[in-house]
Symmetry: D2
Subunit: 453 residues, 4 copies
């Protein structure tokens, strides 16, 4: 296949200690312009506004996923190497496609993907596929050295259409190299110890079987601990109300910018200058692969930094709130209190804030774990435990705690508004009566009906 092995090269990694590379293909993929771009995209976007250590990049995460996948492949190769076709054990020939897919699985991410894609309709998964399969990328050229179909194979693993389910599940299932790296790395950089779990123990429990990767039943509690760590990271970090306030802020900021950009479409070229050249294709809605590769955190943030001085008051104010870390405040809302929101929006408008830009509802809910539901929108590969005789049992059947989490969403719905609405010491302020009325709707951090108190 023309692939040489080489003496190991190592990258020093604070989470996994050493990242070890033995394949020139991997080393060359890391050196491509498209992969290096991930240095300029933060893994956790706005989360660093809450956990100031969380500045780590998607570059570091991608190396980590590679390294974890490599350790999995080593474990499987040493202990469960296939002896004859059809024995459902691990085929060492799958090693390289696994490692490439692990390394490249996030290569299509843009800046602050969650928010960004919501506003501009881009899709990082499609870009990941394109960056791997399009002949114009450096990545594609490196992969083609392995074989003409190799880029498609790597893309298929990431798209979950690759025929060998073991390879797919090691990268993308409910317990895979991707999730394991981000939990450990996010825990390390936020300082959130509850995100830690026992990587080497879990990897040691892996057992290949015909439909993928199972885990030895005797290690059930280690798997349970991983699922709960994931749940803890959701509720404590990923769904943090202040992070979500910054997502809301960024979203409204981009929405406003897009609106202004489109309003000026009949006008001169100069007028559109408030959007940097690198971002204009995005605002125009016509994005080539080459254009896309110019999007990164630094370009977006530098542009927002310039918008502080915008003549548009709303854009300038939102940009400043974002950069100077002035989050919207929020309260918890429920089905029973949601009907009160129109009145709150009215009060906020009376206080001088355009509710389209200064209020938001935001739901963060996720399933920490689910069993396989064939009729679901996106059925999940469930976690299987294997008994000594090979019998499989789905995890939640054995773990009461996982059963509690299974198919159950966690998170909350919140209403966001300007902090100024909570001003209390402004008796002389003409807005004071509005603020006071607004504040009657809040108790213990929740939206309440004052007439019921």
């Amino acid at each position: 296949m023309g692939v040489l092995t080489m003496k190991e090269k190592v990258f020093r990694d604070p989470v996994l200690n050493l990242i070890r590379v033995y394949d020139p293909v991997i080393l060359d993929l890391i050196g491509t312009s498209e992969f290096q771009r991930l240095r300029r995209i933060k893994q956790l976007g706005v989360t660093s506004y809450v956990f100031h250590g969380a500045e780590h990049s998607r570059f570091a995460h991608s190396l980590g996923v590679y390294e974890i996948a490599r350790r999995f492949a080593d474990h499987l190769g040493e202990n469960y190497r296939t002896k004859m076709p059809g024995d459902s054990l691990w085929d060492p020939n799958e090693r390289l496609v696994l490692l490439c897919a692990a390394l490249l699985h996030d290569v299509g991410h843009g800046p602050y993907s969650h928010t960004f894609e919501h506003i501009f309709g881009s899709n990082h998964e499609e870009y990941t596929q394109a960056l791997i399969t399009s002949p114009e990328t450096e990545i594609n050229q490196v992969l083609r050295r392995v074989g003409p179909d190799f880029p498609e194979d790597v893309a298929a693993v990431i798209a979950k259409t690759y025929p060998n389910p073991q390879v797919v599940q090691l990268i993308s299932s409910q317990i895979d190299a991707d999730r394991m790296d981000y939990l450990l790395r996010d825990a390390y950089n936020t300082g959130a110890t509850y995100g830690e779990f026992d990587l080497s123990r879990i990897s040691q429990l892996m057992r290949p079987y015909v439909n993928g990767i199972a885990f030895e039943e005797k290690g059930m509690y280690a798997i349970e601990d991983y699922v709960i760590s994931r749940y803890q990271m959701y509720v404590q970090v990923y769904f943090h109300p202040v992070s979500r306030a910054f997502e809301v802020l960024l979203q409204h900021l981009l929405m406003r910018a897009k609106q202004l950009f489109n309003q000026t479409s009949a006008e001169t070229r100069i007028a559109k200058d408030f959007v940097f050249p690198a971002l204009r294709p995005l605002f125009s809605g016509q994005v080539s692969l080459k254009d896309y590769l110019k999007f990164d955190d630094v370009t977006l943030l530098a542009n927002i930094n310039q918008w502080r001085d915008s003549e548009d008051q709303v854009l300038a104010d939102l940009a400043q709130r974002f950069l100077d870390r002035k989050p919207f405040k929020s309260i918890e809302i429920t089905a029973g209190t949601r009907h009160l929101l129109p009145h709150l929006r009215q009060l906020i408008e009376q206080a001088g804030y355009d509710p389209r830009y200064y209020t938001a509802e935001n739901d963060s809910f996720d399933l920490p774990y689910d069993d396989y539901k064939p009729h679901a929108d996106k059925p999940r590969t469930q976690i299987e435990l294997m008994a000594p005789d090979g019998t499989l049992t789905e995890l939640s059947k054995k773990s009461a705690l996982v059963d509690t989490l299974t198919g159950r969403t966690f998170g909350d719905a919140r209403f966001f508004f300007p902090k100024e609405m909570l001003t209390q010491d402004s008796v002389d302020d003409v807005m004071a009566p509005i603020y006071r009325e607004f504040q009657q709707y809040i108790h213990n951090g929740k939206l309440v009906d004052p007439s019921n108190r």
Copy 2:
């Protein structure tokens, strides 16, 4: 003084676990626009090209220095609180000025300060002073709430002109809150364990005395360990040849951009557009405090990202090398081999590279520790050990290892050049003979005279 204490607020920090704030002044300083800007400035600049985890910000470091200073103040207040004037013990009234100075000591830093200041002649220390004392900043307004002279006091601590040497040394000496935080934080984020030392032990050894802070003699080895950790970080991280290659690259890139900007000065406004508006004051050499606050990593990097497409070949090429992580290669040079460099530069020029932009000499040398040398350019406050009877001895008198490091520079001098000069497999290349001749000057990573081999 109008300063209220409050229930503690905490920041989750991966290095120090919790950063605890009890003073509203500190909380408000953290909330200023000038302090929040430090989120967009990396602590270690180009180092993340070598240690990919090192993405941490000066914001995190500044919080860390505050927290360490707070722990020092607590230790001194609990164990060595002054009982009467002149007893040279710790005065709790110095607590707030210490904490503010700790928090703000780096607030004037710009992007990639080392390189940047070299090219543009700016000085982050002067900007730190200005940001604290100028009435136009938010920081100044918060500090003035404590008292009219308080901003000057805080600035004096940072400038080392404050009358109480204990306060000054806790922030700025050879063993201070600043160095302790950056060593621990840089070690944590690079994964370089040799940068760790025993913070709580060292803090527990502190003893105030009339000329500053000494350390109990019985803990000499803990202090020694700290000095050696610092030395290890210098030689393994801060002086890493590849980091220095990126400093060289960035420097040449900015030099080229500055040159182009000045060439176009007679031309139209549009022509200068290749420099972002936020950076133009810098290139023009007229920078107000307000201008300065717009400089940050994201703006600089976004601009470099745009220069990839510059019509100027050199600017475009250097920008691409920088962003795609294509470092110059380097070799060690000595006084005995430096005379060979002109010939190497000639070969490099023959190979098609302008030596002004594609070669460099770079010396990284530093003193990990020095005793007090009254006639030195910048005399250093030496580390004093205190015996049970109060006698002081300078550290290197007790530690053979520190004595070895004292007054001794570490580091090396290197020559940087394009990696292409090492090309080996290009027999048909017309440049091949040039490359081959060049390579004869290199042996074991050092510059050698081929006629002597």
Copy 3:
């Protein structure tokens, strides 16, 4: 009160970093003969047979509980110091009684308490009380320096009869200094990372109120994480089947020795020599406080070591199995399979093993958490969450995961037998048919009825 404060003394601790002592009373208690004896008693008894790092002593644990309690007291004193009688805030006068109780809470433990007390009917809680209140101990003498009633006060805190419920709950509730230290310390020494939780976060959430200590509701997930860590340590470490096999072995060994000792009661003094003088009072059933203080791990183990050469075959064999780490094997049993055990015992007897000494049933079940059940045998103090307005809610009402654990026992029932019953390669062995029959009752580590398979 005659209690002086002093400059801090520190103990280096691998788990809590520094243990800081400011009170001479604490320092003197640590120096007593009774407290030093805890160095010779392992915290986790036979667990080191499974997790070889778990050699830590009750001495280290007791220092750790003291240190955690001290941090709690500091937090409460800094943030919630009482201002007037009846405000239900923290009274700093309770500090010393809290710290003494924390330090001494385990001082009455004997070697391998769990097993030991089962065989000899001793009770470490009673001994703890006696060691604190009896005038003959060094501990009592140190405590009386504080005041004549102080020993009784300390004993009352440990007995949970002390009038201030805040002090009691900090030492002994479902989330207290004792549990927090042992989880962290056991996790550190076993290497079981799932036992870790966020000590400083939890301590920061504490709020004193009239009936004890509550936790701020906003930190619910940190408390939940602690409860789950505790559950994980139960199921993965404390209930480990091999640990329990060694408990069973030790129990049978001591039972046999006791029986032999009593058989020889009519005989000469020499005959009883197989029991060390220090252990004889225990075997005779007449134990003074002075006698009790001589019991420790080393004496028991040294005696067992001598029993290897006993003329009594059973005692010698069990001693050897214990010391050479030859655990009984075990299988899971249920209510539905328990009726098969008599037949298994019969087979084991046929194979040459006395079932009284070579088989056992052992149930390890515990409640990781429970809410307050007023009619329960030992009602537990439930964990209360406090809303901003002071409203309390019991933890399991807010946490679905804790609700799953609440009032629910975890663990399993197992049947233990000699490993030899699993011998497979002994076709010529006359016992082979017995072994083969026995093995038909085992499938996937569980007891099964072979007639149903």
Copy 4:
């Protein structure tokens, strides 16, 4: 050879995470009675009196040395596997002898070896050899399964007479698996962070060559850091004055017991009963291999515990001081002050203490590193750095810090005496004048001549 490989078995280790075993021979060696005995021997002896966490056993250390050696073997096997005889690369056939030697290198240790061997003239190295080569041990039987000469081969590696210097140096040189494990493990359990270094980096730098194992020159600073960590552990942990005080105490205690035992030799058997049967062969000077295997910490400590009640006042008092942690105090002495000791001993005798048992001089000096000195008593294998072209340079030639340590002893000489000599508040005590005179000889923790002050 009859050696099967198997699916990996793991041991959970707090320091190295997982200890992985792939060879049945290794697993069976761990299961032998002789190896299990190491559970009852503490790695650091009396050090836990100073660092209370240091209760770890030689069992854990031995597993650790095995695991580190295994990682070395994997690294060498993957990167430097021999291709033809005489190429000086790593021969995978050496793997098993390496691993067995690593596991068994300390198997002959007795309790508190340092002190014990000093008094009783035993030698753990000889016992290690005997336990491996004597046909009566379980260890020997397991090793012989590999081949008839295999036990001798393993013993030769430990004795450094094995022909392949690579195998010898991996276990026993100045940078080997043994030292690496004990530094990391002792650091972990004492909490002494300065003992940490970068194990995986160092292992990655290893290069086999004809005379052993060298390290890539580019990693010089990692090696330097290891040497300095070792030095730090010496001066901060292993030479700690209070540890040495307990060594002195134990030594005097055993000396007294030995003397009493020999005095009673003409008397009845009963009279010798104060020494436990298991220890009597030692006291009699006739120790068989079988006897030796009964010596362990628990037997010795249990015996000392019984001596508390001895009728011999000195034995009883020393036993109590040892068990209740009442160390002798000590002061630093030098060649210039040593002449004052006879007078101090006289004062101590006047105060009622027999100087033979209540005073001691103790020197702890060691070489943290040395280069090869062919004429030295025990020439050391020096650490070699390898340049890209294969040239070797001895470490201290490249590292100024290591050069400072090379061939230089560190430590100090101390004089030990009863703490009572420092009594200060006993004005009415008839001994007070003696104490006062004694105390005039001490200043800043050092012995001084009062006539010179």
